[in-house]
Subunit: 523 residues, 2 copies
């Protein structure tokens, strides 16, 4: 299915001040001046040293639908009632046909200060893209990065399920979370609508309500699977095993197995995980196996997941031996308050979990719920521009810039370098001097063995580059993470990746700084 | 404008396991059994002791549009390919006409364990509401609570602006944030689309790009406001004051004043707040005032907001005195990384801020980005149900229940009490025994002076109760916060509000517990 156009992705989804600024540009005759803007961030999230860029397909959707309608313009008129009438005619006339957008491909590892998007075109129109592009890329990049970190923590052989729908910022927050968790390396989502719209695998079992809906045996009437009474068989196994368990739970499991004889996965913590849930699961699993169907496994949703998963595996093993059934490798799904730190701790405890279901901590990006991507003017009428501010962190790097990733002989990336767009590109085998943006003592020579130009022109009044599919981006990302030095991608105290400026750009930045900042006088 | 239907608010916006459970109910003939579900949360967010309930208008929207279409059912069929064909016919046939929904009004202060929604109807249909209702109420309630806390921290006389669009979880996250920040007590949003759709006031000034777009005086061509040269006048004031400031910034301010002579509010931290931004603002403000327009003020977006606001106020005062102009009360807007703790700290430092612009920390609810509202089966076929689990916190309170708020002689609320639906309601002037849900030693007598029944039947196959408007909910909330004891609503170490059970319900809970939980045996 084609994704329906998101009704909120439109140019009015912006901060009012973008529109008031446009009016001031227009009023002063600057609205069509040629401008260049950069979108970038200043710090990687989650105390990490890498970020994954994402959100590009929505940016394209935004550009393709960039038109104010009459109702919107009428509304804007009520907000700035003293503005001249011709301005509103102009607003009605604009679209994205005069814009150029350069972008780093989705699923690329990116680093602070490197411009992820470069937007060129008439000042007022490019200005109007600011807020919408940021809302489309900020969270998409953040959750993709978070998902990639969870995946890295759990390891390649684990199955990762996204369960965050109920904890996201409303429906669209949830849809975005599902889409970009998949990009980041998750295997599936529980969100059926996201599955339909984005073509992501969907998975899930049942919840506590299902168990609670069975009071006793009498609630399960037609008990036959392939002609055999699943409940009676399960009760026989319970007697044989000497378990004392909750009857409603046993009945619920048996009835669920009847509905899904080849996909029987039971939530085992409704009453008591070790005392009732797992024993009941095993009784029904044995019964089902006897009838001729292989059970799938259990889900743990509370308690000490390391301990319970180890105990569960031991019980599976014991059952395998006692009844001569292949239950040792039944799946153990765990899903209660899992975050990256918890996964590392579970690893240390040699957990027996096969599948992680992650909701809240994935979609809310709890340890850092926002990526601070910003959108800054870097050139106007061919004059490079800078934003200084009192905080060094908030300084922007001026000029229309290209970005390159330089690789060494080992095949690993050495650094990214920002260069003015009219500088000659870095050459394989040619030594170049690169400099830290703000620390004059930090500089180095690089002789690249490979040079990757990071930006592609994706929009030139219309879409001019095929945007990779979600699956392609997902593969690209896993390859990038594998190729990157592990000291940069590791979870604890990672090494910062080197971001540098060409010598020319560095000198230009220093010069502009000296020119633009008045020296304060103290008495 | 009528809010357009949110395209994602539909029954397929759910966890797949809700659908697989439905199939299992259907397969076992239980799908039409009468069920009662409660939606509630277990812990107030932000280390607080109150929460604001919100999200009801979207719940109604969901119920009104509760119908699967053919495309969705075809998609579901691909997810559970072995399910019987009649199930899909049944899915196509269902709607919300057999459901009853009882709800606490939006904007009410609510507390842990009290059911915010009670949903009654056919088991499978009520089950299918779980995830969607949770995604609609969880974040709405969380951000409303967060906004209310920010408002309380800043005080009633401050203006609060929501600026979070670019940091939300995509477009709908942002729209929800704007809507419910207003419910929580904010005055306006920067999000123009939210303004149009929800009728919320919108406000904003300009951003750094506007300042940076002016290189020097020559970029400002038509400098006349009411026939006078605003830039020349500003330059004259600058000479007279002896300021050395950035020329591009001064020019940008003057040009902005030309576009908005009666709404001139300048962002002053592009180059140097005290050394350039505020002096430039004052020069343009003096010029504008001379021409006959009152300037509005400044926005601080970086640096030490307490210090800078105090310095700015002092500069306003000095300018007022020197030039005999009414500049002492010009507005100071502050907007950099503000959160509840920062506001309390600014208060301690006697800041001079009039208006707070809050983005990231408001919309992401950074200190707790999810409210854990859950949806549990409490009665099936007239049998009360319980979910126990190993964690006491995860125990649900069984039975179809009503909730009451009991007020004392002082007019303040004493406690909320949950009662079985067939118990006699609490009576004014009549003593009743109420008990802590889990601690047998905690019990008390209450003689209420006023009794408020918390739930209203809002949906009985169709909407049967007028849902208050956003503004009505906003007023309701502010009245509720004022009426609540301050030790419960204060920011630091608040006192928990008392949540209790009627004596009957308490006994029933103990009894069910003993019946349902097997006693584990250790050897």
């Amino acid at each position: 299915m084609e994704r329906p156009h998101n009704q909120y992705i439109r140019p009015l989804l912006t901060d009012l001040y973008q529109i008031t600024m446009c009016y001031a540009y227009w009023k002063n005759g600057h609205h069509m001046d040629h401008a260049v803007f950069d979108a970038f961030f200043r710090k990687c999230p989650f105390k990490g040293e890498y970020t994954v860029f994402a959100g590009l397909s929505e940016v394209i959707e935004f550009l393709e639908n960039f038109r104010f309608n009459q109702e919107e313009v009428n509304y804007i008129r009520t907000l700035i009632p003293h503005a001249e009438s011709e301005f509103f005619d102009w607003l009605l006339s604009i679209d994205a046909s005069q814009l150029k957008v350069y972008a780093i491909p989705e699923g690329t590892l990116v680093f602070p200060r490197i411009n992820l998007l470069r937007i060129e075109g008439p000042l007022a129109i490019a200005q109007l893209c600011e807020t919408t592009m940021l809302v489309l890329c900020n969270y998409a990049s953040l959750i993709t990065t978070n998902a990639a970190r969870f995946r890295k923590a759990a390891g390649k052989d684990k199955v990762m399920l996204e369960f965050g729908l109920r904890r996201a910022q409303g429906p669209d927050g949830a849809m975005t979370a599902s889409k970009y968790s998949y990009l980041g390396g998750f295997d599936s989502t529980s969100n059926a609508l996201a599955g339909m719209i984005y073509g992501i695998p969907v998975s899930g079992t049942h919840a506590h309500s299902y168990i609670a809906s069975y009071v006793d045996y009498s609630d399960f009437r037609d008990r036959l699977i392939d002609g055999q009474d699943i409940l009676q068989l399960a009760l026989d196994y319970r007697r044989e095993s000497g378990f004392t368990t909750n009857d409603g739970e046993l009945t619920a499991f048996a009835s669920y197995a009847k509905a899904f004889p080849n996909a029987f996965l039971a939530l085992v913590d409704t009453y008591d995980t070790l005392g009732s849930g797992i024993p009941n699961f095993l009784c029904v699993a044995l019964a089902l196996y006897k009838i001729g169907h292989k059970p799938v496994g259990i889900r743990l949703d509370s308690g000490d997941l390391a301990y319970l998963s180890i105990q569960a595996r031991a019980m599976f093993k014991k059952t395998s031996e006692k009844f001569n059934v292949p239950f040792e490798d039944l799946k153990i799904v765990a899903s209660n308050d899992i975050n990256e730190t918890v996964i590392h701790s579970l690893n240390d405890q040699k957990h027996q979990i096969d599948v992680f279901g992650v909701g809240t901590n994935l979609v809310t990006c709890q340890s850092q719920p926002a990526l601070g991507m910003v959108y800054k003017l870097v050139e106007i009428r061919e004059h490079p521009r800078i934003k200084l501010s009192n905080e060094k962190d908030k300084i922007t790097i001026p000029c229309k810039k290209n970005a390159f990733r330089l690789f060494g002989e080992s095949g690993e990336a050495i650094c990214d370098v920002l260069m003015m767009s009219d500088e000659a590109e870095p050459q394989v085998g040619t030594r170049m001097l690169v400099r830290h943006p703000f620390d004059e003592r930090k500089r180095m020579f690089v002789v690249p063995s490979k040079v990757e130009k990071l930006h592609k022109l994706i929009w030139d009044g219309r879409l001019v580059e095929k945007i990779p599919s979600l699956s392609e981006g997902r593969e690209r990302l896993q390859m990038q993470i594998e190729a990157m030095r592990n000291d940069i991608t590791r979870a604890i105290n990672p090494t910062p990746y080197k971001i540098s400026l060409s010598s020319n750009l560095y000198d230009y930045l220093q010069d502009l700084w000296n020119r633009e900042v008045p020296i304060q006088e103290f008495r």
